[in-house]
Amino acid sequence: MATYRNTMRFMWQDSYKALRVFLAVLLLVDIGLLVFQIKWPHLVDNPSNNFYSPNYGAIGIFTLVSGLLTATVTFPLMLSLGSTRKNYIAGVLSYGVISSAGLALFQTLVAYGGTALLELWGQLSESAPASFLTLWYTQFTIYLLIFLLFTLLGAIFYRYGTMPGLIAIAGLIFILFFTANTSGGTGLTDKDISGWILLQAVHYLLGVCVLLAALLWLIIRRATVRTY
């Protein structure tokens, strides 16, 4: 238990600076967008309830980079400091869940807070965001999925090298193409996030997260730490 606690403290120590800077910048941009939306709405070509939508992409990219670094930097770092692969996986999965939950909470608060402020200034929303819990749960699942997917890709690159990594990316693109086609072209990406009620699909995505975590463990459990 003490080892797990120290692993989590290490994870926090490793990521909090980047997280702090990222969230501060995001919040400043959101405040700027909010001011523009209130003062000069004609300059912002966006429905008023969606002024915070760039956040989704930004958080997604942050999570993606976190995932890649977790596989390629944190893994050798932790093992060089006496951790086992099991400790690493426990730490990474816990970090992925906690950071995704935290980022989803941040974005849900921004969405709700921003919408409330706009309404206060008389900028009526075209539609209210989804319920707090639905919005949080949806985002949590998507961020966790991105984090695990890119940790997995990073682990493939780290363990097997460039060519297998590129093949894995090609495989991923193929799977995405295939699933988009079989869903009749009405992929989730076309949906407005605030109106997203496809909770069942989100449950499936959570199942995919479990599958990705299992694959990650299969790759890491006998992974070699590079000698440099």
Partner: protein
């Protein structure tokens, strides 16, 4: 004495080539071991296998009788100091020290601070901004401030000037006197560090060809210097590692029993002197290579 670390018939293959082949050795506790080998002999790979960072293709490594790989108590008791810690590149010195304090159970904060001061390492600089020598010093801080039972140093003196190398050797001696820490050091600077080593393991093309205490290792290593005519009879003797002749005088590097020949040679005026460790290592390595070529 029972060994602290043991590897039995350990092999590691990368693709078609063997980095380590059938390595078997027992490392005695409370001693400094030298791991010697030419470039590409497999020292770094072997150290990574011993620390549980690389899985061997076959064979087993045990620490205190327990398997090392994925055994949390064993892995946290073994500290590997790499020659190049690339995963530290983007972190500041103070961050790395913080990570060490969180993950290394034997971390001694006060010792780390005193070593950082001794080496004058800037806490706010990133690892990649440090000079090669300073990077080595930071590795030394990790290895010495972590009071683990077993510390493995891979080329710890890379980039260090003579003064700092001497400081490192002094620190190792201090660390080992009055403690039961076991230290394994791989190095190319054999002459400098020869006095540290209580045991020597010689690695040649992935094979541990010798592993014994330093005194026994050097016991049968001599220079024979005398008249070329007197020493000519030894040409082709497997105990002769190397021969140099100049103006009627021959110097032989000898490795093996000399009891039978000693008295006769001394009567002939042949001077017999000890062969330094570095020279012995060089000649053994060369001979190993030429034998391998003959086999091929």
């Amino acid at each position: 004495m029972s060994s602290i670390l043991e590897c039995r018939q350990v092999s590691k293959r990368f693709g078609r080539s063997h980095a380590i082949l059938d390595a078997t050795a027992s490392f005695e506790p409370g001693a400094v071991h030298g791991l010697l080998g030419a470039n590409g002999a497999g020292k770094t790979t072997l150290l990574h296998i011993l620390a549980g960072m690389i899985y061997p293709t076959q064979g087993v490594v045990t620490f205190g009788g327990q398997q090392v790989h994925e055994n949390a108590p064993a892995m946290s008791s073994i500290c590997l100091v790499k020659s190049d810690e690339r995963s530290w590149a983007d972190y500041k010195v103070k961050d790395i020290m913080k990570f060490c304090s969180l993950l290394l159970p034997g971390w001694d904060e006060r010792k780390a601070l005193s070593l950082l001061q001794r080496f004058n390492l800037p806490a706010n600089k990133r690892y990649k901004q440090l000079s090669r020598g300073m990077q080595s010093q930071l590795g030394i801080v990790k290895g010495l401030a972590n009071q683990s039972s077993l510390t493995l140093f891979d080329e710890p003196t890379l980039g260090l000037d003579a003064d700092m190398r001497e400081a490192f050797y002094e620190l190792i001696i201090q660390e080992c006197s009055g403690s039961d820490r076991t230290i394994i050091i791989s190095t190319h600077l054999i002459d400098e560090s020869a006095n540290l080593f209580e045991y020597i393991a010689l690695l040649e093309e992935g094979v541990i060809t010798k592993h014994q205490d330093t005194d026994s290792f050097l016991e049968h290593a001599y220079y024979l210097q005398g008249n070329s005519v007197d020493l000519e009879r030894f040409s082709g003797d497997p105990r002769v590692l190397h021969a140099d002749s100049l103006a009627g005088t021959t110097i032989l590097a000898w490795y093996g029993d000399l009891t039978k020949e000693r008295a006769g040679l001394e009567q002939q005026g042949v001077r017999i002197s000890p062969l330094p460790l570095q020279k012995l290592f060089v000649y053994l390595t060369r001979k190993g290579r030429s034998n391998n070529r003959e086999v091929m």
